[in-house]
Symmetry: C2
Subunit: 150 residues, 2 copies
């Protein structure tokens, strides 16, 4: 039974058993959404983005898994309500404007406060994957800026 059929059967059972519920839980199955290449304008090197969720209003958090090949990184950017990174694989780097490069490893969690200009990515020699979670303000969760100087 696929996810649509499951949701349909859930809706039918709920309707039969009771009044229409306010809302239904939704399951997105692994494999439903193709991976996307990180946009050339916003990333240097090879980056794969697997979007995982985007809550609907009044909730506003969204998240995905971002995988950087060795040497790949984001452009400079900010988030209107900040961003949390959870490193899951490899070794990476994060830097805020005027700050040092910090090395990050699996299990490390990075909080980037609202409107702090920063970049993150892999090390030159090793790839890195992290979950990234950010809340949208007026429908926008990121402001892209210039690329990082080599």
């Amino acid at each position: 039974m696929n996810a649509s059929a499951l949701l349909l059967s859930s809706a039918l059972l709920a309707t039969a058993a009771n009044a229409q519920p306010a809302a239904e839980l939704k399951i997105t199955r692994n494999g439903e959404h193709p991976s996307v290449r990180g946009a050339e304008a916003n990333f240097t090197g090879t980056v794969r983005v697997d979007s995982l969720f985007q809550a609907s209003a009044p909730a506003r958090a969204g998240g995905g898994l971002v995988t950087f090949e060795p040497g790949a990184r984001t452009a400079w950017h900010t988030h209107p309500l900040g961003q949390t990174l959870i490193v899951v694989q490899g070794v990476g780097q994060v830097r805020q404007w005027d700050g040092p490069v910090h090395e990050i490893r699996p299990g490390d969690v990075v909080w980037i406060p609202p409107n702090v200009k920063h970049w993150h990515g892999a090390t030159p020699s090793q790839g890195m994957s992290h979950f990234a979670i950010a809340e949208a303000l007026d429908g926008k969760s990121v402001e892209w800026l210039e690329k990082v100087s080599p």
Copy 2:
């Protein structure tokens, strides 16, 4: 160099290079926080909670990794702004009030809308781990209810 030293050096460098920045990124290193046992009042069976982050206002998302041993599950509960689960290991189950039990596997993503009564956990024979991300409303991200009937 530990996380405190890194943050301190970051702050000193930033101060030397420019005016005091508005905010500093914060890295929480893997191993800084001990795992916590899921509270007896809110879980059945053995559950480990690894809290990972809690954004500060105006952001409001928080998250952690929850690991259920075989047969373990949450009590019924709701979230004022909903919750997203990202399954990372094992095989689990999720059910909303008046709905069927759905099996969930690694890479599956579950959206539980605001105020939908539900539970989640492992299958009877296999453990399951998921990330759980929820936004707080007035400082509260969950409302615990009664335990699930065996």
